[in-house]
Symmetry: C2
Subunit: 477 residues, 2 copies
């Protein structure tokens, strides 16, 4: 199962693929976008051979051949991942799904979309709009990311709080197994309790158990009304108390509950040039979004929520937005936060889930550790900033360590220590960005040995020759 | 892997279990409730030895011993299943989880419940009530069914439309593997994309891959307001058109959309003595439920929905209910429908999912087949009634064939024909009741060979000696 037992892709192999009508691009390892450079430009691939199948049948032919010849295969969709999972090495073929981009079917009564894996998320959302639906997933990368990749990475995104996980929303998957067999589990049914739910294995497998070639997904009603409130708060505990009040007063219409701390706000103003969303600075910020079917009802609920926050003395400042431009500006401020951090220095970004009671402690623990190692706190220390922002209600915290340079003692001080801290506090080492090329070894800090052994045995069962995503994901756990 | 290679449970085995402190009951195959009789009194077990572990550790000891000695194990929760999955034979041990019934934790910020598998669904719902939550699952059997069984059968229930599937709502599972190893996947996190989602395998496995001993589940906010509308409609197509309008006008507050046809209504009035919900008879009935956080908003939305139905000429009669007694009576009418059928004759009940466009055709096809075989339509024919009711929006249709007696030519006329019809129309042969003891052989009509082979390979991987649920589920697919 080790990558060492695989054969490098040869000129004869390329000839074979071209001979059976599969489109091939040759890169010779060049840092060609999109194939060999990732979205954050942090990871680089070095692939030579890119295969661009146009059908499930062609994907099956490719895998069948690679299985027989023991050639490594890396699967790539929109290549918007941040964990290096979709990049490959010179001795593998890169299987890009971008030419498989047809919508297969929409059932307007059931609200179910069936689409090829290479469909871009935003295109799918546009496709179902006139029927009164949305795709129940929204990500910053919506203009490039593809639905097959969304499923394969179990993407979470901005409105998980409202629409839930891919494990709940994906109804079916068509996948090609590593030996080339087509696994047709492309059901469009919501309730189905007939046997093990095989499609679930491919949700979050990051292309290591086969290639997802098509997906069916339950759509959500397109909201007629949306509102945003931005809140300024004095301490972290108040964020959770505000969240409990949101559940009570905004109930069925709350669709996002984002938070960030003062330093995130300052960096976004400084490096992206966005105007502050509130008039005064605050220790913490919350952005609440509602989506509903009757604007007046939503406005009344939001009003009651803000009043309850004030009664409980939880907010120092609040601002409501319901005009599209104002809401867009607020979302842009929030979504540019990662970019602002990146512009401010050398960013280490961590994508964790943690139970609410440990969320803020992570920031404190990280700062304390770096301070105790004399790396943070002084004007010339190697770490400039340690910040958190994230999504309340789905446990997902993004922690940033901004260093003056990459590598060296800062990286060694933070990793793997931060993964051990998260694992020992009941967290996940990869909330929504996946394990990719490097996080497999950290899995042991957060998952029990029996769970990891079961994962590895599934990998051996479905990909006995280890051709899919060699050297990645649980293969290195 | 066949049951033939298993050893019957012996007196020495029973002594061993008692000796390590596990509570044992001996039935000697008696039709003792709850262990050897199912909820519908259709299936009977013939188990002698019932084990009642009190901890995960004891479950582990039992499985470890049974694995070593190759003894079959059948897992039972509340024994409210309708497919015989929780009943066993004389040569297996029945592992009952009813003594493992502690609530382990509730996180009132995140809204997450962690509970032992043997907790009764209604007890859990009562437990989280004062914190403002509900368990996002509701079944007719709520007073007896247990959460471990709900997870193991991937229970769907009455409000799937609003709250979605167990695959989305279950955050973690603690399970004991067939060899006795404890698989701690009891995460309380919502977003987690770190490796294969192992817990998903146990959702719907019906105890054939191990024993689910504890569950963590994402809770939903308890609604402050609920309303019901009962509608009378002239044809089936109008049900789907009304459903599309419900999505538009009731959007985020619709929580159930049940339908039944005239004959179901008549049987419920006749055999359960319930007063009719509407003043006049109709070809079809719909019961819509809303759940929201502000009663006035919900009332306005319901009013707009009913007005839209009238504008589109979809309903002939409608009745709104918002008083608790009236709503309870309406739900009792709906939930007694299955009992009414049972009282009216010898009931064959089928639990299918079908895409909307094939739902009504199933009823027609079944009636036509039975008519063409001279079994239905005349006053003395062996089939008295063929009816459907179900949940719109989650594709789940219950079809009943009421015969004058069980077995014989009626059963042979309907099965397996009805499973082939459902499979060839994109349906599922078990929407929410599971495969149990008898539906494994029908799986091939609805799932592709590669899917069934993958299921079987998972079974061999996790239960190589085939001790869990021998002769059931995919073991007989």
């Amino acid at each position: 199962m080790s990558a060492a037992s695989l054969n490098p892709v040869s000129a004869a192999d390329v000839e074979h693929f071209a001979g059976i009508g599969i489109a091939v691009e040759r890169l010779d390892g060049r840092a060609e976008e999109p194939y060999n450079v990732d979205a954050l430009k942090r990871y680089m691939g070095s692939v030579d051979v890119v295969l661009l199948p146009e059908s499930t049948e062609q994907v099956s032919q490719i895998l069948s051949y690679c299985h027989e010849r023991r050639i490594g295969v890396v699967v790539q969709g929109g290549n918007t991942g941040t964990a290096g999972g979709a990049l490959g090495r010179h001795d593998e073929v890169l299987l890009s799904l971008r030419r498989m981009n047809a919508v297969r079917d929409v059932d307007a009564v059931a609200g179910v979309l069936v689409a090829d894996a290479g469909c871009v998320l935003e295109d799918l959302d546009a496709h179902v709009r006139q029927l009164g639906f949305i795709v129940p997933l929204d990500l910053g990368s919506r203009r490039q990311c593809m639905i097959g990749g969304n499923v394969s990475t179990s993407a979470g995104g901005l409105r998980y709080l409202r629409y839930g996980s891919m494990h709940g929303n994906v109804l079916g998957v068509e996948a090609v197994l590593p030996d080339g067999r087509v696994l047709d589990a492309l059901s469009v049914l919501k309730k189905d309790a007939s046997g093990y739910d095989i499609k679930q294995l491919f949700i979050g497998a990051e292309g290591t158990l086969g290639v997802v070639t098509a997906v069916s997904i339950a759509l959500a009603p397109r909201p007629a009304s949306s509102r945003v409130a931005v809140l300024g708060l004095g301490d972290f505990d108040k964020i959770h108390r505000a969240f409990v009040l949101a559940r009570q007063h905004l109930g069925e219409i709350v669709s996002a509950f984002e938070f960030w701390e003062r330093r995130c706000n300052e960096l976004t103003v400084e490096f992206c040039g966005h105007p502050d969303l509130l008039a005064r600075p605050h220790a913490f910020y919350v952005m609440v979004e509602t989506r509903g079917s009757v604007a007046r009802h939503d406005a009344e609920k939001m009003e009651a929520f803000i009043a309850a926050l004030r009664d409980a003395d939880l907010v120092d400042e609040s601002r409501e937005l319901s005009d599209p431009d104002g809401m867009d500006a607020a979302w842009l401020f929030r979504s540019d936060m990662a970019r602002a951090h990146m512009l401010s220095g050398c960013m280490y970004v961590y994508d964790f889930s943690l139970p609410p009671r440990h969320q803020y402690a992570l920031l404190d623990a990280t700062k304390n550790r770096l301070r105790s190692m004399a790396m943070y706190g002084g004007p010339d220390d190697p770490v400039k900033d340690v910040t958190i922002f994230g999504h309340i209600g789905d446990d997902n915290i993004h922690l940033q360590v901004i260093a003056r340079q990459y590598g060296g003692p800062v990286e060694a001080a933070v990793e793997p220590w931060i993964y051990t801290w998260v694992g020992s506090h009941g967290g996940s080492v990869a909330a929504e960005h996946g394990l990719g090329a490097h996080k497999g070894p950290f899995l042991k800090y957060a998952k029990s040995p029996a769970v990891i052994e079961t994962m590895k045995s599934l990998k051996r069962l479905l990909d006995p020759r280890g051709i899919m995503g060699p050297g990645k994901h649980v293969a290195i756990a």
